[in-house]
Amino acid sequence: MGKPVSNLVQGLIRFTNKSLVKNLIVITLCVMFFFIQLFYPYDFYSAHSDSNSSFQVGIHYVYEQDNLTDIYGQVTQIYDLGFKVIRINFECDPQYPTDPVNQKTDMFFEATSYYGLAVALVIPNDETTDSINFYLDHWGGNLTYVQIMNEPETSSSWDVGALFTDDEILSTFNSIYTTVESHHLSAELYTNFGIGYVLRPNIPVEFSQKLNFVGLDVYMNSFLVLSPLFIQNLHEITHKDVVITEFGMSTTNSDEQTNYIISGLNLFKSMGLKGCWIVYWNSAYDNYGIRGTPTETAVGDWIAKNAK
């Protein structure tokens, strides 16, 4: 019994000791290691839940698309579902203080103040200093988070305001940062990055020196699967906590959207992240909005069970 086994082992050693075979084995193992590195973090975190960690679920509310009279009720509905943060666009008209958009913003902050909801304001890349000053003078005290620029590493077009060079990005960031800082708000500052930051990692590295935390935007299933690697890398290079600041799916298939969002919430919570903000509550021009869909109910149920 011992000799056949010994012969088999000797034969196997002789076989694998051939240069061609050894090269093939090494290449195969390299491919295997590569795939383990790619998929193991997602598989692990998806299979394990961290019930002890506190987790903050937020949502982006495009209140400017709703009627003035509906805004308070919508905030109430968002609060009742258990969301802790509402992220909003930069909506104001400095020229006409009584403009409907300013009234909507007033109404929105009246509701969030009443319910004690945290608000994250997105300051776009091309916003003027005057507008920022007007906004922060009027509503700055209601803000919990201020986002300085939106996915600045993305160079999307040749339009006015599109950003291409690092110098332009950094000087715009510094200009907005200085303006926001001059208001001495208690709000935490952050910037969100898309997956494309991996090609321009110097931008989050430089920005993060002035930020309280950094955001990562996750879209599409493939990037959800790879997100643990991106989150870990972004945390390593910036030395700041990472919050998922945009997470959603534009689809007419409600089941698909629900599965995607719930699996993401489970993943990010088990990774011990501080929070995840869903896009969007409502969206008139695409299918991201979860309002009035089965996803809204599913997310509400998930928050009730999982988010403290």
């Binding site: 193991y40 973090p41 110097n202």
Partner: protein, 150 residues
């Protein structure tokens, strides 16, 4: 002349050790090199990324996935040839190095994710404790010939 003789003595002593001891030494040296390079990357990556972007990032990638594997592969075959009195190699330097680097980084990633450990010092200590199996892997991943080759 004296130096050559003492070098030969050390080599002969290493070659006369048991196979398990040779594998342990090979694993230990390889793991120490990998830990030192990894620790250096952690401390230097910010400087790389901020150096004339995106050149610094390109240099970082080139060093990580081109220079580092070649160094590790060359060290591995040098160790094999020294310890086992062989010549030449079966697997190229870069392929051998990237294999060892991937094995090392995969192990570290699994430890980091599963047990929520930091690289320094926890994972580095575990890596050192796993020197022997890593030596077996390093020895398996390449080899030379007993006969001299031209």
């Amino acid at each position: 002349m004296q130096k050559t003789q003492s070098e030969n003595k050390v080599l002969n002593h290493l070659r006369n050790m048991r196979l398990a001891e040779k594998l342990l030494i090979q694993g230990l040296i390889t793991v120490i090199i990998l830990i030192v390079i990894q620790a250096w990357f952690y401390s230097a990556q910010d400087s790389f990324m901020n150096y004339m972007p995106p050149l610094g990032f390109a240099f970082l990638l080139a060093i990580t996935y081109f220079a580092q594997p070649i160094i590790i592969g060359a060290v591995n075959i040098a160790l094999i040839n020294s310890l086992h009195k062989t010549r030449g190699w079966q697997v190229g330097f870069w392929l051998n190095g990237i294999f060892l680097l991937l094995a090392f980084s995969t192990l570290n990633l699994i430890l980091q994710v599963t047990f929520n450990l930091q690289f320094m010092p926890s994972i580095a200590i575990i890596d050192l404790l796993l020197s022997f199996p890593f030596g077996c892997l390093a020895r398996f991943s390449n080899g030379g010939w007993k006969k001299p080759i031209d």
